[in-house]
């Protein structure tokens, strides 16, 4: 019988010490990591039979893996101690290791947005499954001399080392591989001076002012393509930008226009008020089933609106879910909330993939 991949029961003391030291050495190099807490010191219970990757353990681990792989598939290995979700055969065992690995293993949406600025991707990764340990893993692996690579035959069949013991209840956070795209940002800023709206509408080409309809000037600029509502109190709302930076730049341009018209406009308290994102999971969703199982969060009234309105509590985001698999996320003050909300809803939606 092939040896069980992960032993039950605590490892021998010396080995454990060695692992601990090696792990802590690597962690010490990173400033923003929390100490591994009970990761290694707790007895190896079924859920955390995994010991984090270190150069010593790798060889041991690899040899185990090779033996298992030689047997053909994982079913001969006793995996009964793992939580149910992890024993499915065609479960995507994606590895939250490094940014490069993510791009290899996960389905690339084929959009430019995948080539994210490093900052954005960090934020996205850091919040998947809410575990800080994942973040630490993603930092640890690039530093490894010899990270365990996924087996060449089955690119999706990655070793079980991606299990994080700190999140026993939620399944291995499979990176959905889909990144919601930001569609609209609404921000406000205070120009801190009283404005004469009639004068603004007279001297600016791109302004609209209909006091009987609405008590503000509607101004538009071409780059970034946005619209602003400018009130006589000096407050301004800027909408239509596709990113936070663009929204800020646009708001500054509007403030400059107002300045050039002779008002002592300043730029105070710029704040992003709302962010809207959208994406496509690419499979149809049984909305009637979703409203039954998640009744306390969902509202589905086909007589009124074709989509299901899902009010997520953490983060506080409202999602519009449609039968075609398109999802709209709104109500965020920060980009990370949108990503987190989508990563939370994706496994729920996958549960409704088939009729």
């Amino acid at each position: 019988a092939p040896p069980t991949l992960l032993t039950l029961g605590p490892p021998p003391m010396e080995e454990e010490q060695a692992y601990l030291e090696l792990y802590l050495d690597q962690c010490a190099a990173q400033d923003d990591l929390a100490p591994p807490r009970s990761l290694l010191l707790s007895p190896v219970v079924p859920d955390d039979g995994y010991i984090p990757n270190t150069s010593n353990s790798e060889t041991v681990f690899n040899s185990h893996l090779e033996e298992v792989k030689a047997s053909g598939h994982f079913s001969s290995v006793d995996l009964s101690f793992l939580p149910d979700e992890l024993t499915q055969e065609n479960k995507d065992q994606s590895v939250i290791r490094s940014k490069q690995d993510i791009e290899e293993n996960c389905e690339t949406p084929g959009q430019q947005s995948r080539m994210l600025l490093p900052r954005e991707q960090d934020v996205g990764l850091g919040l998947i499954s809410g575990s800080t340990l994942l973040n630490s893993h993603s930092q640890v692996y690039p530093g490894d001399a010899d990270p365990v690579q996924p087996s060449p035959e089955k690119p999706n069949c990655t070793p079980l080392m991606s299990i994080t013991p700190m999140t026993p209840v939620t399944p291995v956070s499979e990176c959905s591989g889909i990144v919601p795209q930001l569609q609209n940002i609404v921000s406000t800023v205070n120009l801190a001076c009283k404005l004469d709206l009639k004068k603004i509408a007279l001297h600016a080409k791109n302004a609209e002012y209909n006091p009987k309809r609405f008590a503000a000037v509607i101004m538009r600029i071409r780059e970034p393509r946005t619209t602003a509502l400018i009130f006589s109190s000096g407050k301004m709302v800027c909408t239509g930008a596709k990113s936070e930076e663009q929204s800020r730049l646009a708001a500054r341009k509007y403030a400059r226009v107002v300045q050039k018209l002779g008002f002592p406009a300043r730029f105070l308290d710029f704040k992003i008020q709302n962010m809207v994102g959208s994406c496509d999971v690419r499979f149809p969703i049984r909305l009637e089933g979703l409203v039954l199982t998640h009744q306390q969060f969902s509202s589905y009234e086909p007589e009124l609106f074709p989509g299901l309105i899902y009010r997520m509590v953490k983060p506080r985001i409202v999602l519009l879910i449609f039968v075609s698999g398109k999802v709209v996320l709104t109500g965020a003050k920060e980009r990370s909330e949108i990503y987190e909300a989508f990563e939370n809803i994706y496994p729920i939606l996958k549960g409704f993939k088939k009729a």
């Binding site: 509408a201 009987k212 990113s243 730049l249 589905y300 075609s324 698999g325």
Partner: protein, 427 residues
Amino acid sequence: MPGGGQCPDCGSTELVEDSHYSQSQLVCSDCGCVVTEGVLTTTFSDEGNLREVTYSRSTGENDGVSRSQQRGLRRVRDLCRVLQLPSTFEDTAVAYYQQAYRHSGIRAARLQKKEVLVGCCVLITCRQHNWPLTMGTICTLLYADLDVFSGTYMQIVKLLGLDVPSLCLADLVKTYCSSFKLFQASPSVPATYVEDKEKMMSRTLQLVELADETWLVTGRHPLPVITAAAFLAWQSLQPSHRLACSLARFCKVANVELPCPAPSRLQELVAVLLRMAEQLAWLRVLQLDKRSVVKHIGDLLQHRHTLVRKAFRDGPEGLEAGEEEEPREQCQGPGQGKEVARSPFGLPAGKRLAGPALLLPPCMLKPPKRVCPPPPVSTVTGDENISDSEIEQYLRTPQEVKDFEKAQAAREAAKSVSNPDVQAGQG
């Protein structure tokens, strides 16, 4: 009040009208002697002139309730009676209305909203008891706009924190079908159009279930699907006489309003039936079209589960499953030999269509109207320098300002000539 009477006992004139329970008496205030007594009981002729006091006026239940709320509660009861709902529904709906009225936002709302709130409370009650009442029906009864209704409905559900179950489709089919005037001959209903209620209802139900399974119901208003299904069911029960009848005419004869999306739902349902018919050998040779397939709806419904499984696939996995499945159903005709000879990819030799269709909602099968190009990666930091020229492009030159003002003045002059009201145009 002392009216000139004298007490027979002590002779005082201080007589007071007082009532002992419901009996009026004239009593001397000095000695307490009862001078005259009113009548405790009424005679039959007297009672004829009296009116009964309603329960709600004799009890104190309306004492603390504002008149506006009382009116609303009356409307709730009236609506329940018009809809012929069981009496328990009335109490629940009234309770919801009272609960809603405790919130200041509702108390201060406009009358239109309060009227619509009546409908919302009744609707929520019906939904919770699985009574199939549509929002359209309520809006028609209240002469309300669906937009106003939807806003108030969503608000009140959130405000009261209620769990409102979804509309029960099967019950709605039964109720809606019963409202069709096709079950008895009449001057407007020709004899060939009359149909048996049970047969039509059961077949409509099966068609609606089929539509639900093939993604035609999710995300759509439920009623047009049922209209289309009822039409097909009715046609298929006597196709020879009814194939010539159109959906619009059917609704007119049945005295039912034709919902706008119903023709589109009908097309989609017929397309599903045609795909299913392709799986039956003896129907495939007939080369059915959207009219002739109606004749075979009975057969198709009888084997619908197997046919849907064979006719559609969910994706590459579904395709493989379809291949592995043995052709074991009883409807194998003489074309069996031809059917089994399939290429590795599931395309039977000589089949017209390119294999099983994808089982997807229609919105996913249509090509996208316009493909949005992915936006270019933005490297904006928000702190860039803003050039003067860029800002100046948005400002009018002094000459332009003068011209604009002249044009504005001319426009306003023209307006005030034609219309005495002065309008404030663009600043």
